[in-house]
Symmetry: C2
Subunit: 388 residues, 2 copies
């Protein structure tokens, strides 16, 4: 089978302030939870509807397809069905995307990217600095109902490739290295109280329950995807002892995380890290098909920033230390791309984070280097080529 | 000198409902004049600011440059400086665009696309069905002040290629063939009263006045552009008897207009029309440099529509009669492209209308065929190639 060559449509139906800062103009909000809170109802509605209508359009699906990609991963929020006011649902946008994908021969992986009270405390979980979802049996049940409804709605679409149960739940290991409550400070300390990492035991059990409800609805050719919770090697027994039909493991691999864990800020170190990952992915394929559902060329070396304390994409304000000549930059990205693809293709392939960013690296030079998160720009810069 | 290979950033700072219909959702407005009127102030502001922030971004300038274009024509409204409430100015957006153009080695032609009370009664004049600007000496003076201020602000930018005095003023000839007050019905009949075509005599005199004020400010390497008012051959004496420095004539050539004037709905007829235009353009170059500042591959033959009564892009609802096989479509567009470029390059080159449209041809099939207005999609479809 052809490898997955995909992009994430990040920042479209699930907001991240750093990906679309103009949407947050004039508010103190760091995430959608507080964007709703800080704006009058009508203004929030106007902004969010315009953003959804303009950030990703039919033309983007056409371009993604014509560039040679075969799949898009679409992050969606838990309120997609419009049953969690004050948030505004976006199921019609997803419906439209399915018809675009059908027309332009793309597959879709639906990725449930947020849950009420958050599964990780990240800004992209929708509520910064809070991580309490797994503690609420009511909200766990709600999420299962969203997954069932998504399965029901799209089970017959030729464009549906699969559904990912939940994005980036955080366990103790990542909790310690990312320290989310420090990194994404909660605005409401009371609401954040009691936040804690999720246990692998909870996830094993939740994933089984979600799988069994979804598999009842979804035809066998649709993939059910489990995120690895940043623990690539914690799943051997899970997959060996359960008899799942057509499942895959999604692992997210950012150079930024490697740097957090001690990888030096230099090309050679990045390549070593990618070579090591290649072997790790190969090992995992012994018991489950695995793909890299998020990754990016972004790194602190080409961005010219010092990562002491770790890179935080939500607080982009690093003054550039030094700008690389364009040729050198291109050379580095080309090597990183090649080593990355080589590693990811030990598994089932990849989805880049992300297709498009609305940041302005010219008028706000502190964004210098961050354009490598945006694969549409990587293509325009000729840093990468997808087509054979 | 290299020929102009450009695109219009239509629908960005000057709205046209058919190019961005979602912006007009839930209103009865056909143009920006009534969008402001129909929406509460805060909602209009939210929508328009999001649209400006998202419809065209840095990534678009990068792509336009990387595709091989060398210039963008940017339509701007008369209220760009924010001195005509309730409209919201957009000079900061243009400032940002200049810095993008400088970084990505693109030139900019600023095109004053609208004036108060309108110069043509078109929807893209900003006020459908009204054409009274030239009758108001106060508003004529206001427009001259906008042109002076634009000249002053950008005269030193390396990205400024030129400024176009006024887009598509309409004379009696076009008034009769387009019948704008029928085609773009006025909402306020009283306001429309007294609307009339503009005389060539008025234009000769207004253009001279605008030229002299702008040339005082603009360095000689910046081009001052006159639109031909849809009368390509009305300018010989004007250019022969006036001693202008570095000026050009802009002519707009749409197959749609040719069809209005009797060109048959078939490829051969279109090619004949383009060959004839080639000769006409050659004639004009005897006394003035000329370029085609707007044109498009769109035609009623590939769109599968019957044009009896003329195509009206603002009322796109034609049910498709017939869809062409993709290969046939591509073949026709490639031929039209080649003959068009061949004609335009008798002059100084071209700017396509337009870079991007936010219409959904899949979920709203009555848009079938209209994607050829959108050159970013023409490129993705591989209908055309810009790079040598």
């Amino acid at each position: 089978m052809e490898k997955l060559k995909g992009v994430n449509l990040g920042g479209w139906l699930v907001l991240e302030k750093w990906m679309s800062p103009r949407l947050f103009d004039g508010t103190n909000a760091d995430d959608e939870y507080y964007l709703v809170n800080d704006l009058p109802k009508e203004e929030y509605e106007s902004r969010i509807l315009m953003h959804r209508a303009e950030f990703i359009t039919e033309g983007d699906f056409l371009r993604i397809s014509s560039e040679g990609f075969n799949i898009v991963r679409i992050p969606v929020p838990y309120f997609i069905f419009g049953d969690r006011p004050p948030f505004i649902g976006c199921i019609e946008e997803l419906d439209r995307a399915f018809r675009w994908a059908e027309s332009y021969h793309l597959k879709i992986l639906i990725d449930l990217h947020t849950v009420p009270l958050s599964q990780n405390g990240f800004d992209n979980g929708g509520l910064s600095g809070v991580c309490k979802w797994a503690q609420s049996s009511e909200e766990v049940e709600f999420v299962l109902s969203v997954l069932s409804r998504l399965s029901e709605r799209y089970k017959d679409s030729i464009a549906l490739w699969g559904i990912e149960i939940i994005n980036e739940p955080i366990t103790e290991k990542m909790w310690e290295s990312m320290n989310p409550l420090e990194r994404y400070k909660p605005r409401d300390k009371k609401l954040a109280e009691g936040s804690a990492p999720i246990t692998l035991e909870f996830l094993y059990s939740f994933y089984k329950e979600a799988y069994s409800r979804m598999r009842e609805i979804l035809p066998e050719d649709k993939v059910i995807v489990f995120h690895d919770a940043f623990e690539l090697h914690a799943w051997e027994e899970f997959f060996k002892t359960n008899h799942f039909v057509n499942v895959m493991l999604d692992t997210h691999q950012y150079i930024m995380f490697a740097e957090l864990n001690g990888t030096a800020q230099e090309l050679e170190a990045y390549i070593d890290y990618l070579k090591d990952l290649k072997e790790q992915i190969k090992t995992v394929t012994n018991y489950v098909r695995v793909f890299v559902g998020e990754w990016s060329l972004f790194n602190s070396y080409t961005a010219g920033v010092n990562t002491e304390g770790g890179i935080n994409p939500t607080q982009k304000k690093f003054e550039s230390k030094e700008r690389m000549p364009a040729d050198q930059l291109k050379g580095i990205y080309k090597q990183l791309w090649q080593h990355s693809i080589d590693a990811w293709n030990q598994g089932e392939g990849y989805m880049y984070w992300t297709y498009k960013l609305n940041i302005d690296t010219i008028n706000d030079p502190s964004w210098y280097g961050w354009d490598s998160w945006d694969i549409s720009r990587c293509l325009s810069h000729d840093w990468i080529t997808i087509k054979k």
